[in-house]
Symmetry: C3
Subunit: 346 residues, 3 copies
């Protein structure tokens, strides 16, 4: 499959400069692109790479429009434009509708005739699978769970009973949706399990990474709103609510009953304690633990800066004595102040 | 299924105040409960919520017994009582005994006739599955592994060969029990694998969260004692021993050969280095790395406090200079002391 | 299976002292070994344990050769020697070649006749499985993925389409290789998915732990070189390159497009931000976030030292005021300097 720049611009907009009839068959980086490929320049800082590229065409911004003679498409958002060109050149493999003979589907499940249930997938009693959805190899869909339209579950995704997956969800292998939240009451020095009777409810256009886990609610539901993007190995505890279009990087843990706003961005291996509220449009740095609610949009961080181990060791030992250091400074200030006032008195 | 307060108290104890014949069919929070549901007040701080609730009945402590006119059950431990009421109102689905035709069971495995082996589960040679246990869809039980009585493995749990799972274990999807520990010897700048020949031995009444991993021992066993509760995405390395009734939150990593005491509580994303000993009744905060043995019960922490990114940046830079800051303070102290002694001499 | 020390030394080298005809059937620790087992002393610090052991024989270094009268093998690297003895005494179970009747293999996949495809495994279209490789129960091999010779995938490993697994790879259960990287472009406050069209290419003699995830490249490939050892629950993002013989402990996260050198060692729960370069022979401590490229071999750390919670709280509060503390010290220094210069003028 290949498209001319003219054909691409006709579908996706943008202004073509140079030879509009050149054909491109794939996307690539400026460094790796061949003459039948199209690359992109999203950041003017890398403008110098244009001179060395063997790319057949380039997507770039108005500001960089004249930085090359290559055939090019000018777009107000070159990176988003590139994403669309890539989707055009790399369409999802066509789904073969039907239930594989090695799938195991409950007799009272409802499978849309355009859906695909792959080999070794298991569909529980009363489950509903929507149009054009793919339930990959070895997936498990629990009883009464409802899967929307155009959902793509890669192999070995598990969804427990009574959950709701919105349209166009993509979930990657090993994701577990709807396992019991971690809820126990202490009685006589033993833990008593609290049945987890809430659900997981996921909106539209969500993506869930490999081996990410989203627990079902204890009493009420765990809720993931539209457009949320979750990377791999994230842990979302029971009754968390994640606002629309929030993106969370890998290995983040979010404790129970915390509410996260819309359009937040959370860096890798960050954590958020339970029962907190995070406002809309909050950015949290990697490795940062949020221990209090955040009521104001903005960027928050708590990263211990790394160094050579011997330097770190020399400095870190004082962290146990910061309070004492503070008192020593205060005492010095008081002594100096006393001297000054004595001098003034003289 | 519904019970009157009188019926509940007859089974679970507690003192009924108000109309003992009111029926409740489900548990809920004070905020969400309907008139045929029962909620609970475990913390007097939230006592004001009693006035607004539409709950049919409430479980509360002696101290709050008169804080509402609603039909109520008074208990010395309202949260544990609530857990029991919820278990009563939400019994586990009945297990259908037998081996599903799409399960694959080794001819020399021993399956109790009351156990359930679900579709696409695989049971290895010489494995033993105890009475009333459920091996969920897509689970794998390795050769010679022994599964106790009343165990519930949710879909896609993997247990390697020669492990022992105690009675009433609940394991959630994606849990991997008995994979090789991370053991290598270095020889001529290459890693040489050390066969991991120990087992994983798990006691009674343990719960293991989704995608949690517990490695088999290198030579001796990895041991999880009775009543331990593990949340999701926890990594337990080879030869770790976890004492009875310890609870560990999500994303914690515990390195090899560490022994953790009984009734400990470990916060999310914490870590414990290898070859350490942690005493009984130790609490470790989230995001805290324990790098030395802890011999005394109590609460331990090491969390870097978060702030606005510009504030954090301004402050964090000094972490690389704490030793220098300390020397500057010391020098100031010495100079002031010198001045004082000079003054005294005058 | 048992071997005499003479037989072992004939195969693996080393010098036998004492009775070379004693037979050993298993390896064990000095503490736990029985009289038909062989243990090892890798570190002279533990030499005192030799006197109490009931081990039948011991592997030790030249320096410790005379520290016991037990039959013994002297080696320049006792730990590596022990690894080899253990491999000799604990050979991998023999692989039964062939495709299990409950496996699902695409008609155009190429399966070497010596390979084993276990029950409920699924092999995609155009995939190639090399000689003596084992595809465990419930594994999924995507379309056109090429699996080398002597590869062992434990149950429930997922490999997406078009990936390459080198010879002798061992992957543990729950590992996911080749899922989509986390790549989105922002357009009008929504995330637009960027198709991930690169592959994962893995070299020879690699081991991948349980529930570890390695994402496919966005445009170019994600690359794991020969001899790399990855523990459990590690997240490797798209386009990461990991140099030969690097070892990474559990729960580490590595962000996109970062290149890690050869023979590095990365401690548990550490993290490395994206688009960085880490030199060869770098050691990174547990819990340390690397936020800048490292160009020099050596050891790096950033661990906040833990303490009793009340001590931690008292000290940590000052982290938000380090910049102010620094200014206070500077002011004190200036004032003292002023006094000194005044004195000089007098």
């Amino acid at each position: 499959m290949a498209y001319t720049l003219a054909q691409i611009a006709a579908r996706l907009g943008g202004r073509v400069l140079g030879d509009a009839e050149i054909e491109v068959a794939q996307v690539a980086t400026l460094e790796e692109a061949a003459s039948n490929e199209i690359s992109f320049l999203a950041n003017s800082r890398y403008r110098s790479r244009l001179s060395a590229t063997r790319s057949g065409a380039v997507i770039l911004s108005e500001a960089d429009a004249d930085a090359t003679d290559l055939p090019r498409i000018v777009s107000s958002n070159p990176y988003a434009y590139f994403a669309k060109v890539s989707a055009l050149l790399n369409p999802s493999p066509r789904v073969l509708p039907g239930v594989h003979p090695h799938a195991v589907v409950s007799i009272d499940a409802t499978i849309d005739p355009t859906a695909c249930i792959a080999a070794t997938a298991v569909i529980g009693s009363g489950a509903v699978i929507g149009a054009h959805s793919v339930i990959g190899e070895g997936c498990f869909i629990g009883d009464r769970t409802v899967v929307g339209v155009g959902v793509h579950l890669n192999p070995r995704v598990v969804v427990y009973h009574d959950c709701v997956l919105g349209d166009n969800l993509i979930a990657h292998s090993g994701a577990v949706i709807g396992a019991d939240g971690f809820g126990f009451a202490m009685e006589e020095r033993r833990w008593l399990k609290i049945p987890q009777i809430g659900r997981v409810v996921i909106g539209k256009d969500v993506e869930i990474g490999a081996n990410t886990t989203i627990d079902r609610g204890a009493l009420d539901d765990t809720v993931i709103e539209d457009g949320v993007k979750l990377d791999n190995q994230i842990q979302i505890a029971h009754n968390v609510k994640i606002g629309a279009h929030t993106a969370i990087a890998g290995c983040v843990g979010i404790a129970g009953s915390t509410t996260i706003g819309k359009r937040c961005q959370i860096g890798g291996s960050a954590g958020i304690l339970g029962h907190l509220e995070i406002a809309d449009d909050v950015t949290i740095a990697s490795f940062t633990l949020i221990g209090k609610s955040i009521h104001e949009a903005g960027s928050y961080a708590a990263i211990y800066p790394f160094g050579k181990t011997e330097d770190w060791r020399k400095n870190a030992v004082h962290l146990r004595h910061l309070d004492e250091m503070n008192r020593r400074i205060k005492k010095l200030e008081q002594e100096l102040a006393k001297q000054e006032s004595l001098k003034d008195q003289r």
